[in-house]
Every structure is written in C-alpha cells, then in structure tokens.
C-alpha cells in the first residue's frame, strides 16, 4: 500500500531521503505540467519543477500540515513559474481585467460547441484540438495562462485563486473570463479551418 503524503513528509522531515524521493516521483509530472502551462518552454518548466522540489526540501521542517502537502508544493511551483516569466510580463502591456462590451461582441460564440457536438469526449476534433491547446495557451499573456492552468490543472476554486494570486474574487472571475475567451478564439480559428477543409473534401467527387 502506498504511504500517504503526510507520512512521507514526516519521514522526510526526519531525514529520510527515500521518502522525499517518493514524494518527488508522486508529483513530478503534475508539477511539470503546471510549470509548463505557465512558462511555456519545456526545458524551463523542467528546471522550475525541479527547483520547486528543492525549495520544498529546504523548508520541509517548517511544513506543519495546515494545508495539504500538494497544495504547498503547487503554491511554491506556481510562484517560481510566475517569477521566471516576470520579465516577459514586464515587457507586455498590462491588460485590464474588467469586462467591457467590446469583449462580448467578438462573435463566433457557440461554434466550438457545435463543432465538438453533444458528446465532446468522443469527438475526433476534440482530440485534435487537444493537440493545439498548448499552442493556444502559449499565445495567451502570462496572467491568463497562469489563471487557466491553476483553475484547470490544479482545480483551484475562485476563493483559492484569489488567495493564491492575491486578487479579489471579482477580478479572478473576469480574468478567467478573458483567458477563456482568448483560448476559445484561438481554438475557434483552428476549428473553423478544419470545418472548411472538411467541407471542401466532402464536396469533391
């Protein structure tokens, strides 16, 4: 039977390197996935993920178990990932989080849902779009990438996002809205092209 996180943490706090290694193996892929979503570059994500575990080890004795180990680990990983792209964020024009009428009038809403059908999990286009998700995500500004990754990969609630990103809940909601709109627009472009190609093939004799 697998040891739970807290017992591994307890052993690691006592100097058991194998216990800490087991925690690394348990969470390495998910930490890497979070880092990759934020920093975009696979090698940088690898480095950020490793550094997150090093920092966790350095502060292991301070961990009191008030939150879960994974929450603590992902918090550190997120901060490191955000720090590593801070330069990029500084160089970008900071976009407002408010929702304005123009944000709602882009058009094209519903195309994705139509293209993906009633049972999206069984849809071929969905699988193909999944391959484009990373490109679409990479095209977003850092703050939109980060909030989408935290929401979707870590599964944080509005409240948890507000606490993690030090934002008001309302700002979290509107930032998520903008992030999703941009992601959907990028995927719609791909879905639209696919639909046109398929139509052309179908009309050919």
């Amino acid at each position: 039977m697998e040891a739970d996180d807290l017992s591994l943490v307890s052993q690691a706090q006592g100097g058991d390197a194998a216990a800490f290694r087991a925690l690394v193996v348990r969470y390495q892929r998910k930490v890497y996935a979070v880092a990759l979503g934020v920093v975009k570059d696979p090698d940088l994500a690898w480095d950020v993920a490793q550094e997150a575990f090093v920092r966790v080890h350095q502060h292991l004795r301070e961990f009191e178990g008030k939150s879960s180990f994974s929450t603590w680990l992902f918090r550190i990983a997120t901060h490191l990932a955000i720090d590593s792209v801070r330069r990029e964020r500084r160089s970008q024009k900071d976009e407002l989080d408010d929702v304005a009428e123009g944000d709602l009038a882009e058009g094209g809403e519903g195309i994705l849902a139509t293209a993906l059908g009633n049972d999206p999990r069984e849809n071929v286009l969905r699988r193909e779009l999944a391959g484009k998700i990373q490109d679409a995500l990479a095209s977003l500004p850092e703050k939109h990438r980060t909030i989408l990754v935290l929401r979707e990969v870590e599964g944080l609630s509005y409240e948890e996002l507000a606490e993690r990103l030090e934002l008001h809940k309302g700002t979290v909601m509107s930032r998520l809205f903008h992030a999703r709109k941009k992601m959907q627009a990028a995927l719609r472009r791909y879905a639209g092209l696919r639909a046109a190609d398929e139509g052309k093939e179908e009309s050919e004799p």
Binding site: R29, Q50, V54, E101, G110, P120, L176, M183
Partner: protein, 151 residues
C-alpha cells in the same frame, strides 16, 4: 448584448457552490433569455478540462526517469553551500580571519613610508594561526602579536 451580459459573462464556468444562490439564480435566468451568453456557456463546457488534459498528456510523453535523481542531486548541492554562502553565514569569523592580514598590510605600508631613501629590505610575511604575524625585515624578524583578534 446588454449590460446584463457584462455582469453575467464572468460567472459562466463557475462551479457548483462558487456563486451565491442569488447570483446562480440570476445567471440561470439570464442564460435562459440570452442566446450569446448561452453560446458562450456552451463553448466553455465544450472545452472544459482540455487544458489539464493537454498539459498532463504533454508531461506524460516526457521521460521522467532522471527527474527525481536530478532533484536529489540539486538538494545535495543546496545543502553543501560554497565559500560565498559560508562567508555570508559566518561574517564575524570571516572578519576576524581578515584582521591579521590587514594588520600585516598596515605594517608593510608603514615600513615602506618610514623607510626613507635607503633600501628597504625584502619583506616576507608568514602567519601562524589567526593572530600572529612574522615580519621579515632587513633588521631581522619582527613578530607581531595580537590578542583576541585585535590589532
């Protein structure tokens, strides 16, 4: 497109329990009457979970066989700090170690300034411990004794 859309659009995609009951009820009523927001909600539902799916798939295609070993090596390196880190942590000891060196340098400068026009002997410095310096001059060795690291 109404002002209500601006209010309700950010609520689309909220999970159960994340909105207050009154907001959830108002959102449902708005969606029932707003085609644009319904389409937005349908898009959000259609791609729900795809970001996590895509990133985890990417992570699963990468070879992680060396990851944990690399982490453990970095942990080891972090626990064995270099000279700079040691100096930062032991500023007082580092400063005390510098005292005899600085004292010796001060004597050299003094001897050179005070030597006048005549030839000044070659000086050879050696140190015994942290607080003793032997100064070789043309007139013979001069031993500089210090107590408690003072000059």
């Amino acid at each position: 497109m109404t002002r209500d859309c601006i209010r309700f659009a950010p609520m689309i995609g909220a999970r159960e329990g994340e909105l207050s009951p009154s907001d959830a009820k108002a959102l449902a009523a708005h969606l029932a009457g707003c085609e644009t927001c319904r389409a937005m909600a349908a898009d959000a539902a259609a791609i729900d979970g795809m970001v996590a799916e895509a990133l985890l798939r990417k992570a699963n295609t990468r070879d992680f066989s060396t990851f944990a070993d690399e982490v453990m090596a970095r942990v080891d390196r972090a626990e064995r700090p270099g000279l700079l880190a040691w100096l930062r942590r032991h500023r007082a000891a580092a400063a005390a170690g510098l005292v005899p060196v600085l004292a010796a340098l001060a004597v050299i400068v003094y001897v050179r300034l005070d030597g006048g026009p005549g030839p000044v002997a070659m000086l050879e410095l050696s140190s015994e411990g942290e607080a003793t310096t032997v100064l070789q001059t043309a007139d013979g060795p001069v031993v500089l004794l210090q107590e408690d690291g003072g000059t």
